[in-house]
Symmetry: C2
Subunit: 579 residues, 2 copies
Amino acid sequence: MIRVNLKVVVLLLCAAVAAVTLSLWTRCGEAVLAGRGRDWEAGGKKLPNAQDAYGGSSDVQGYEEIDCHINGEYSVGCRKEGGEIYVPFSFLHKYFEVYGKLATYDGYERFEWSHSYSKVYYPKGKYDPRGVFMYFENYNVEVRERVKCVSATEGVPVSTQWESQGYYYPTQIAQFGLSHYSKNLTEPEPRRTVLEDAERDALVHWVVPAGATLTRMSDPHSGSHVLQFSSPDSATGGVSLKLDHVLDFVLGLSVRLGSNSSFTVVLQSREKRDQVFQLHYICSDLLISAQDQHVYHGVGHCGPAQPWRRLTRDLVVDLHKGMVYQNKPKRKLSRSKLKVIGITFRGSGQLDNLTLSTSEHLSQFYDAAVWLVRHQDASTGGWPNPVRRRVAPGMADLEPGWYSAMGQGHALSVLARAYHHSGGDASYLHSALAGLRPFDVASSAGGVLASFLGHVPWYEEYPTQPASFVLNGFIYALLGLYDLSTVAPPSAAQQAAQLFRQGMASLKQLLLLYDTGSGTTYDLRHLTLGTAPNLARWDYHATHVNQLLLLATIDHDPLLTATAERWIAYMSGKRAAHN
Amino acid sequence: MIRVNLKVVVLLLCAAVAAVTLSLWTRCGEAVLAGRGRDWEAGGKKLPNAQDAYGGSSDVQGYEEIDCHINGEYSVGCRKEGGEIYVPFSFLHKYFEVYGKLATYDGYERFEWSHSYSKVYYPKGKYDPRGVFMYFENYNVEVRERVKCVSATEGVPVSTQWESQGYYYPTQIAQFGLSHYSKNLTEPEPRRTVLEDAERDALVHWVVPAGATLTRMSDPHSGSHVLQFSSPDSATGGVSLKLDHVLDFVLGLSVRLGSNSSFTVVLQSREKRDQVFQLHYICSDLLISAQDQHVYHGVGHCGPAQPWRRLTRDLVVDLHKGMVYQNKPKRKLSRSKLKVIGITFRGSGQLDNLTLSTSEHLSQFYDAAVWLVRHQDASTGGWPNPVRRRVAPGMADLEPGWYSAMGQGHALSVLARAYHHSGGDASYLHSALAGLRPFDVASSAGGVLASFLGHVPWYEEYPTQPASFVLNGFIYALLGLYDLSTVAPPSAAQQAAQLFRQGMASLKQLLLLYDTGSGTTYDLRHLTLGTAPNLARWDYHATHVNQLLLLATIDHDPLLTATAERWIAYMSGKRAAHN
């Protein structure tokens, strides 16, 4: 047995209530050493008697230091007071991974002990595949750190999760789409200012420098008027619009750009007027680049043959990604601190319907849906993940191009909603139906179908060898299947319905495999690899709970509700009984 | 949120080191309320500053009461001192089921924190089926509370675990045999005093009252001399031997009793000479009865046709069971406090080789082995459990007569050792080989064979519908199969070897199903019933560990060792990682 000075790390929760931090503990997110060592020989000095808090005379007795000897392994400085031993929370935090913070309200201070840190979402009613997806209205996919940027070519996020260069990750793109679809249903109508629709008589705001032109013309394709601009290098500047617009930072415009053309949106800090940022949208395959106050997004290939495109850009997101690109994140540049002061078009092209809005969720949703239709492998129906991925030591790497049942399922959830919302656009339905194919192909053969003990079919978030049986990804796949089976016309819905039924049966058969009696495991790798269980951290555990609660609204098997309720209880420290 | 006065139960471990109990805590095994309530409004009164235990000036700061608010559910009185919160152990004991006690040694007092309470037995070498079984040399089956008595008819324990009347429980009988076999190998040679072997010329000690006779005669069966006694009701008393024997309390005698005959052993307290106990062994099917100082055990049917029998009686066990029978357990009557002062034979009969020994482990082992040979169902090879058993709500009751893979396996372990130790007595081998049959019969059809997901064979300790997959019973079954496959002649060993191999493969496939990341489950009922996992309490968890460590000496698959090591770590609070 070795005497060690216990150094423990105190993690403070950043929670909603007014938290007063202790002297040794500093701001949220910062870890502090709060351990204290004491010689074995120094034990048990008696401190002065303390007065009973009740004002009584005999209840509270002496207060002493005493060593707590932990499992015969190391020692922690405790306190002894009468018939009670007091154990320091800094030790408990580390030993049990419980959380705590001081909070003052109602006029007095208390210590708030939390067994877990995640949130349960109770469904408001029966799950509707035409409505909000899970609780994704709370998601903001594009602001995540692992999103490099929102591609200006595709209008969808680019992930750096498993490859720092950035790649299109179908699961993330679908979540982006689902979050915007859900926000569209839950948020109030956005403010939307039409800056230019080319239908007005006079173009009063535009500044057209010498050598440049701006012409209103009729467009045979759209049947409406559009603006045609030309600002060659020989001109003294681009065709520009001066603005003084606050609060609404989602730019929309329909555009056709000629070769080597671009447009630039200029933002300014409302507090420091010399802080000006230029967001350049350029004809390039570049995802994002930035230099000081200049941020560049590539809108892809330009030229006369290009069709009209509708671009939707969250300017604040674009600005932030540019700052992060330079490793200079500027958290203070929030929406309330900025304004749009101008937009400039250079080169040549046409534009129409230029808007600034609080949000354009539906446009962004459709950007995701269209991306999925366009980037599906026609021969397999899969949305390939273009990165190598090692799920766990002992498992073979997933080679670039693998499919994910979660990605497929999320795509079905997006496409089912797009099919519904668009009033029946067949391209979404056909893509979704094709997306079912990998569910019938073994994960060893390029699909997503695994089998538990050769017996129970399972849709793999990661089609690993050996199988990994990730729970949350499987349930997301089930939701996608349910969404499609509900929204598709009856004749087309059968395969999805059958896959959903099969998956629900598997879920019920294997669900309890994930139950540890005090939490859940993330997957079943321990069974296939013979290793320690991969316990789910509390946010994944909460996801399991939220998924079960949602499924319980469409399948009334009491197993789902009973399991969800037990798993909720685990989050406040309850455990299954032991014998 | 409700404010409750937390009432917590403090459980003190009865451990080996000198434990000094606190004022509010009393003796081991006794639960004490140590909770303390405080009004919300009274929070945060500052107590006088305490002097630093180092004698320094600035380290220890003020010491205050503060409420700990537990998961928003209830409140516990904590202490705040500088940058640290101190939480009462009485709460932690209840919340986390950790254990603690004060201990003083090396001149100072400390608080010993224990995550668990069980012991790991590290094997000393490769497991040998001819040697000690597991660590059963530490078992003392017959003193368990759930043993009603050791039958004087059969020489084996009678269980009251699931039926208070008492019944022969093959698993327990086998454990009785295995513990005595193991003790015989690990304990020193017993002292054995021959009181009478009928070979001496003069019978000096015997008291033969008027009307009674005692004759030395030659016995044609044994080829030795025996004593023939007769003490009819008309005699003034039984034929008796006065003794003054201490420390050795295991009586052995070979005997043939005539109808309505009996013998009585008289014990006396060494401290209180008026405390005299009479242990009567009577011709009756009675298991045990008792009235005040008189304890009765039935030796079964008597009469002229009866063959010679060898009886082995632990007199102290018999005395204690008689006291417990009257609900008057006398813990103070330990071996050191008693002596044997006489033995009396009444009625008629013959006796030989009367001994008093420290122990007679081999005799008791063979009592178990012979019982198993005699009470096996010849048509099925099973040892029936004659009680109804409900393993869990939701499972069909096991009807009387069910077989247990653990009982069958334990029986194999006994019979393999008896076959080996007896130098090849075929009756033990034949019984063991017949005992394999239920391993090939489905538990639904009266056997012990279940199947996990229709795929993985499993030997059921309890052949429930649906299956229960008890882990420790399965491994005990494996050990029995291994024992037989090792000890049996090669031609006879094959079926056991095949069943063992099959079982080991299943064990490796399903072992991790029992791993919760912080302990183990006792069975897999949660999967088959859809309920909470039935967590293994620490002694069962330790059994799992001990079994794996033993198996790892005969099967070098690193899965066994790695899993055992992780499960050992759980016993001191380590957990599997979360993601």
